[in-house]
């Protein structure tokens, strides 16, 4: 059993995690921008260490409907990573990607078609791939990822999956929030990286911390 305690993380390690978030999200935004062939900008990500009962508040409440795309990680780092955005935002992205208004973003009941789901998986793939490749470059570690697994459900339910993994090592979860979009529509996306305790140490060690 590892002695890692996320609540005892020091400032320097915190900064490094934010920097990883920053670079990862930057890469992801570039990839997204190329995919939809439009300028996409992003804000400096917020990195937060949160208690379990607080996580859902950050993403707009437990019952907000979101799209979660989850990957399991292998290679030098084991664990999982998740990309999450709200349903309206994801419909907006799919509309742009497919070049037509496939979905009404304001309609709670509107559902993704097969085509839409497939586009969404691809968005998840690109964003996460860009994120992981920056992490891999920065740490000089080999990181492989599984195919994307997607779920559309209440934020609380989706977040329970990474929260439980964090629950095995402590009482808090690490959340990286990135806001990105074009000038009219900002889309909030959340990255959650959950290395196993040993892999977490491997990341910090590879960075000389």
């Amino acid at each position: 059993m590892s002695d890692l305690d996320l609540s005892k993380i020091n400032n320097m390690q915190y900064d490094v995690l934010r920097e990883i978030g920053n670079i990862g999200a930057g890469n992801a935004t570039t990839a997204l921008s190329q995919m939809i062939n439009a300028k996409v900008s992003m804000n400096v990500p917020k990195v937060e260490l949160l208690e379990f009962k607080e996580i859902s508040n950050v993403v707009g409440g437990e019952e907000r409907i979101v799209v979660g795309i989850l990957f399991t990680l292998g290679g030098d780092i084991e664990g999982m990573m998740m990309f999450m955005m709200d349903k309206a935002a994801s419909m907006h992205l799919v509309n742009i990607l497919l070049g037509k208004i496939e979905y009404s973003e304001s309609d709670e009941q509107s559902e993704f078609s097969e085509m839409g789901l497939s586009a969404l998986n691809e968005i998840g793939n690109i964003i996460s791939g860009a994120y992981l490749s920056s992490l891999s470059t920065l740490t000089n570690l080999t990181i492989t990822s599984s195919i994307p697994y997607m779920a559309i459900d209440m934020a609380g339910a989706i977040l329970s999956v990474p929260a439980i993994e964090f629950g095995k090592i402590g009482d808090k979860a690490l959340l990286i929030e990135t806001e990105f979009g074009d000038k009219d529509n900002y889309v909030n996306g959340y990255f959650i990286l959950i290395p196993t305790p040993d892999s977490y140490k491997a990341i910090l060690k590879s960075l000389g911390l």
Binding site: F52, Y149, A151, D153, A163
Partner: protein, 161 residues
């Protein structure tokens, strides 16, 4: 005026009429409602993991099925509930992502439900109703006045158990 008492992840609370108690967006976690119908006292704990003895960092007792249920019973007793009159209703334990490999990590919902049932059996607390497993999230709300639990899910009919 009746209040809605909210219970977060790895948290618990107790409740008496006219208040109702709820936990929102249960995924692989399990929501366990304990109820003493004779005094209409209810308690709800939102557990994340099956077994506190398997985890080193176990300072939050509400995180686990075994210690969470024990703690909840203690709190309910303090309020006047009788341990031997308790009944249970449980929900949650879904598998949110359809993984094609059967990794231990991915079966956490099932294991949470199993551990909950085992613990309740050991304590002799009967489970009157459950809505567990599957692959979707649930919001539950329990009314100690009626003893009924409603289960809300995205894109599904409301269930009353």
């Amino acid at each position: 005026m009746n209040n809605l008492i909210k219970v977060g992840m790895a948290d618990a609370n107790v409740c008496k009429p006219p208040d109702v108690i709820t936990t929102l967006g249960l995924g692989s976690c399990v929501g366990i409602v304990l109820y003493d119908p004779s005094v209409k006292i209810a308690g709800l704990v939102h557990i994340m993991l099956p077994d506190s003895t398997k985890i080193l960092n176990n300072s939050n007792k509400y995180k686990f099925a075994d210690t969470g249920i024990d703690m909840l019973i203690e709190e309910m007793s303090r309020l006047g509930a009788s341990k031997r009159k308790l009944v249970a209703k449980i929900a949650g334990g879904a598998q949110m992502f359809a993984f094609n490999n059967n990794l231990e990590m991915m079966r956490i919902g099932d294991r949470n439900v199993e551990a909950t049932k085992e613990k309740l059996k050991k304590l002799g607390i009967p489970i009157l109703a459950e809505d567990t497993g599957e692959n979707y999230g649930r919001t539950i709300e329990f009314d100690p006045e009626t003893g009924l639990m409603t289960v809300k899910s995205f894109g599904r009919d409301l269930k009353i158990l």
